[in-house]
Symmetry: C2
Subunit: 504 residues, 2 copies
């Protein structure tokens, strides 16, 4: 067997193990009996240890050596086809990260994350940052150590961001967010000054869960999500996970007094799911069967959820299917009124409840604080106060309680610093992809208005999904849209849509 074939066989085993772990985790979030958690954690830890051992196996170093892979050639060798280059880049990237991190640090991080997450739950309940602070401080210390192990050219934040958005630097990200902020803050100001009431109150009428589920499945089918290769279940926190080549699972949650949660959640997760179901035949079952980055992955869920799912055309087609399911709640509502309601803008404290316009300000807030925490500009004690200042500046509101501010998100307790920005990168990339799609298919909105979503799905599949992680995110964007990430498309889209909705 040559070195490449052996490396691929080893990758295959790692993937099978990783998917096995994902099955255990999916079960944990959906069906596992409550008291089973203790042993489940041991099972997952054992399998994760096996994955780690396989990745850092000394034989891997020999194989990479034989294939000419080193830090200097980390983007992949030249003179090979794109897939081989992508495979070697991604495999070496995975190896290189793990091999640079001492096993004790990996284990200490894992342990601290578990403890911190449990403490975050308590602290959030008590709305008391002080309880969480020592755990957060410990996590930051360990992640700084991790960043030092990985090394960086400019910012200590670079290796953190790179975990979720490979190859993007903090400097690049700052430029993108600055461009967005410059136009977003004035837009929010204008909307805040508008006298228009979007009528969102209709969405808090009574919507029976079984009907919500039935409608969600109707939308999944219309989007082309293949239910013979996937499922939709319920979990406390919605997610999408891939348990095998032909096994992509979505979850949602039902709130009978708030319509948007489950349905837009299902569209969002199905956007991720279509990506996972759409990898090209030659990539299936390898590490290239994954999103190009979290930002690109999020672009797919956001494109479906917002650019399609919150569009006038979409509800022109699907409101007539929705209304008969909820005769009481929607008897006096028409498609236009519904469209306006699901696009209500209102600056608020909680990220996951934010509308399409203000959402990214929540992300900018978090990124600003994360960076300062890691560069040492912001001390742990001062984080809640800094949160309030930034919130006031960006959103015009500030939290009275830690629960509604610094303790609202789970991410930091999981050590996921560098993760938040990918949500905004996803929003921006979604608009950029959709602009390119409309350039090619100028009539696509008319088709959507007739309930036909196949042009969108097929275009995304061909240009994004089928390519998996063969190309780095920015190369993929450039390849498909003609340019690297550009916040202009998203802000143009917002100004047009919400200018019309709010008369601003």
């Amino acid at each position: 067997m040559d070195a490449l074939a052996e490396l691929k066989q080893r990758d295959r085993e790692i993937l099978l193990l990783n998917h096995s772990i994902d099955i255990l985790r999916w079960d944990q979030e959906t069906y596992m009996p409550e008291r089973a958690i203790e042993e489940r954690a041991e099972q997952v830890a054992l399998l994760q240890g096996m994955v780690h051992d396989r990745i850092v196996d000394p034989r891997q170093e020999e194989l990479f050596g034989a294939l000419g892979m080193s830090e200097k050639t980390k983007m992949g060798p030249s003179g090979v086809d794109d897939e081989t280059r992508g495979f070697l880049r991604e495999a070496f990237r995975r190896y290189s990260k793990q091999v640079k991190t001492p096993k004790e640090l990996v284990e200490e991080l894992a342990k601290t994350q578990s403890l911190a997450q449990a403490e975050w739950v308590r602290a959030r309940k008590a709305s008391d940052f002080k309880l969480f602070k020592p755990y957060l401080a410990k996590l930051v210390e360990l992640l700084k150590a991790y960043a030092e192990c990985q090394g960086y050219a400019e910012s200590v934040y670079d290796p953190l961001l790179d975990e979720y958005e490979p190859w993007m630097t903090t400097g690049e990200l700052e430029k993108i967010l600055a461009a967005l902020r410059a136009r977003l803050v004035p837009l929010v100001e204008k909307i805040r000054g508008s006298a228009v009431d979007a009528g969102a109150a209709i969405l808090t009428r009574s919507f029976p869960a079984d009907k919500q589920r039935a409608f969600g499945l109707t939308l999944l089918r219309a989007m082309g999500f293949d239910l013979s290769r996937g499922r939709l279940d319920v979990s406390a926190h919605p997610f999408t996970t891939t348990l095998g080549r032909d096994d992509v699972r979505l979850t949602t949650r039902y709130n009978e007094r708030f319509f948007p949660g489950a349905v837009f959640g299902a569209i969002h997760e199905a956007g991720h799911g279509l990506y996972e179901q759409g990898f090209g035949a030659s990539l299936r079952g390898s590490l290239l069967a994954s999103g190009a980055s979290l930002g690109i992955h999020e672009s797919q869920s956001r494109l479906w959820e917002n650019l399609i799912g919150r569009s006038r055309a979409f509800w022109t087609a699907f409101f007539p299917k929705l209304k008969p399911l909820f005769p009481e709640a929607l008897g006096d509502v028409d498609a236009d009124r519904f469209y306006r309601a699901v696009n209500a803008v209102s600056p608020s404290l909680i990220r996951v409840e934010a509308d399409e316009v203000t959402y990214n300000l929540h992300i900018i807030l978090r990124f600003t604080l994360e960076k300062k925490i890691f560069t040492g500009e912001l001390a742990m004690d001062d984080v809640p106060a800094a949160w309030a200042v930034e919130s006031e500046k960006l959103l015009g509101v500030k939290p009275d309680a830690d629960r509604d501010g610094v303790l609202q998100d789970v991410h930091w307790s999981m050590g996921a610093f560098g993760y938040f920005p990918t949500y905004t990168l996803g929003n921006l990339a979604a608009a950029q992809f959709f602009t390119a799609l409309k350039r090619k298919h100028p009539d696509v909105e008319e088709e959507i208005g007739q309930g036909r979503l196949d042009t969108v799905r097929d275009w995304l599949k061909e240009h994004v999904h089928a390519r998996g992680s063969v190309y780095p995110a920015q190369d993929l964007l450039a390849h498909v849209t003609g340019e690297r990430l550009n916040a202009g498309h998203f802000i143009d889209y917002l100004e047009k849509k919400y200018g019309e909705l709010y008369g601003v």
Copy 2:
């Protein structure tokens, strides 16, 4: 670390891996999307290979050597406590079986089982034994080779039986079954001659599935099955599986036109489930947290399903809870009529539909043929004809089609020869345990009649469940009931109960 502690740590990892495999399999039978099967098989195979490697790891041999374990001391060392002795006996037994079997044979068996099972499905559908025959022949050949690797003193069937009923020999089994048969066949003859109609037709009225599920859960709670450490789901073939110390999952299936299936199925599986939830604290998480044998495991499910669940006392307590759920189907039925219906006896072709009396004749038939197949007395070509002859002799009926005879059960296609007898061993042990229980608690049937099942549950937990596989099955029986397995208790029970029901 001393040798015993190291062996226990290794056992712990094997158990965690085995439970992980069981999670993958549970998911496969319950929620997995249909097209995901291919990769799931690869995931399971990879994890199974890892288990095998751990069991035959040369370090294991060193550890057993250091602990004085060898073929000569395979029942465990003396001078240690019962648990340690049991642990070493079971760990060495597992090691010894695997190490004697060449990996190629293990792999060939696994592959042939997969192919044979798929072919069995087709052959059964076509009702054509000829299609299945070559696969069955191949399996028998491989299992003969397996038996030769394991070695045996008397019968080539011994190592097969020992897979499911450790330490029992074919000779012992034959004596037990002969004693049973001698009294069972005349009893069936008498019942066949009775003019009594049990009125089983009421069980095929309409019973909505959601109500069946609700009633099943009521019974599970009454039995003391802990739903915070377990679940009840739906699968095509009902089973119980343990995915962790605090994670025992039952499945059932609902047929709206046949009441007994789901409800007696749920009681049966919960009988297994209570065993799995009841292992003693010091055994939890080790290989001693398992049934003493399949026969003993089956004794728990059968005791609950038949000796409790089909008793007059049980329905005196629970029919009043059942009737209001099915006002249409049971409006004209009372507890006595219902009790008679669920105990209807009728010799028939299909094992899984057989009543409590004739069930064991189906097992004797299969055991008779299995033994002849492995000793070479029965050629593959002659199996269907031999089936018809035995069926006529034992049950007075014979199949017209392979589907209703030799192709009805999945077991042979899985290579599970030696498995069927454990069903009858379970029936016999159930009656023997119940006799001992009644000796200690003479009023237990009155309690059951009041809906109180705690005496039964607590007695079984203390005497059977808590002991896991610390003792070999026959030792456990002798320990608890004062004698090794004795068919007399079961046949006494049948003669009394069915004598009264059928006036014979």
